[in-house]
Amino acid sequence: MQDLIVFVVLLSLGYFAGTMAESRHYRSIRKRERELLKLPAVTAEDFLDEGREIEDVRLVHGSVVISIDYFKRILAGLRNIFGGEVKSYLTLIDRGRREAILRMKQEAADADIILNLRIETSAIGQNANRRKTIGSIEVIAYGTAVTLKK
């Protein structure tokens, strides 16, 4: 009985806290994405206007570690039994990648363009790559920030 109570408390705590944190994070992501919209980040390796002189080139990166909440983890565990799309992890990945790109852009705020954007994701934490579960993920986005002469 005690186990059950602890489980239900953790589950609802995970659900409500997780949902709140997620919607707050998404609001912040959307706001900052609008602010940084003028700085393009592209996967192309060479995308420069002919004849413009380059002032500065440097490596920029942004990384973030996000954990999934208890509710979503249990839901994914149940999904593991039946199979199918693990929807509870989608927002985790989406938030991680967008946040990492945003941080990278913030680092390159004075640049004109970020070329050769790459994104990598890895599971970290106690449960990383074990028991088929994901505790938290680290997302790193990196690219080449190019500043052109005015």
Binding site: E33, L37, K38, G77, L78, F82, K87, I113, R131
Partner: protein, 269 residues
């Protein structure tokens, strides 16, 4: 090439569905499947248990010998054994062994029926009982479990449940704890019915041994007085609430027309 900044129209990478709905759907599915398999296996256990020979049961009981290895007061144990012998001499069914009582030093107010005809009495129980008849009721209640094979059934079902849950979810996962917990609660309801049946069986046996049933209700009333937990706490318990047991027992005694006489006092037990 011109770069014109614009926001993405919509996010195709996330699915806007209710995760809560998905959770209840999946958890419900798992629970249903487990309950079906568990019920089937439980019925199989019920089928096997009455056919278990006394020899096999005694060997099974050997696994629990550690539980009563350090027994308490030997003198008191002998006296309780005499009360038990008196009860078993009028028992309707012979199981081919002598029922043994073991007194274990422990403050818990409880008694257990173990496979192989062994009854464990925790010494905390002796502080609650005032008369030989009250103690006889406790012993007869445990003998009732033996007569109904409850001690084996409970064992078998719990084994089935544990084996199933660990097979599907692994040993230490929270999902297996959740399922084990919720199914144990169903099991508890089942066991509350068994406890009531054992109570009634005990009253019958007491009437045969003493010619009256004095002391039976007294014991449960003493337990009910000591009980601080509410009725709600008993919803998920192996035993029904003592005051409910008192009510059921009183009705049964009136129904059967059993007499209630003075109990035999217990001196210094």
């Amino acid at each position: 090439m011109r770069y014109t900044p614009k926001e993405p129209r919509e996010n195709v990478n996330i699915v806007r569905t209710s995760l809560l709905k998905e959770f209840f759907l999946l958890a419900g599915g798992i629970l249903t499947i487990t309950v079906i398999v568990y019920t089937a296996l439980g019925l199989a256990v019920d089928l096997v248990v009455p056919r278990l020979s006394p020899g096999i049961e005694q060997r099974l009981g050997g696994m629990y010998s550690g539980m009563y290895a350090d027994t308490g007061d030997r003198e008191a144990e002998k006296r309780i054994q005499r009360i038990l012998d008196g009860l078993t001499s009028v028992q309707p069914e012979e199981r081919g062994w002598r029922y043994r009582v073991h007194l274990v030093e422990n403050t818990t107010v409880n008694a257990l029926a173990l496979p192989g005809g062994r009854i464990v009495i925790f010494s905390g129980l002796l502080d609650v009982v005032d008369s030989e008849n009250e103690l006889a009721f406790v012993l007869a209640h445990e003998l009732g479990h033996f007569a109904h094979r409850d001690h084996l059934r409970g064992l078998g079902r719990r084994l089935v449940l544990l084996a199933m849950v660990t097979a599907v979810f692994g040993q230490e996962s929270s999902a297996s704890r959740f399922i084990y917990g919720s199914l144990m609660d169903v099991e508890m309801k089942f066991s509350q019915r068994q406890e009531e049946a054992a109570d009634l069986w005990a009253v019958d046996l007491m009437n045969r041994r003493y010619g009256h049933v004095g002391g039976a209700v007294d014991f449960l009333e003493a337990i009910a007085r000591k009980e601080k937990r509410s009725r709600f706490a008993y919803f998920f318990s192996t035993h029904p609430h003592p005051s409910r047991r008192v009510k059921v027992l009183k009705e049964y005694i009136i129904d059967k027309g059993y007499r209630v006489r003075e109990s035999i006092p217990l001196n210094g037990l």
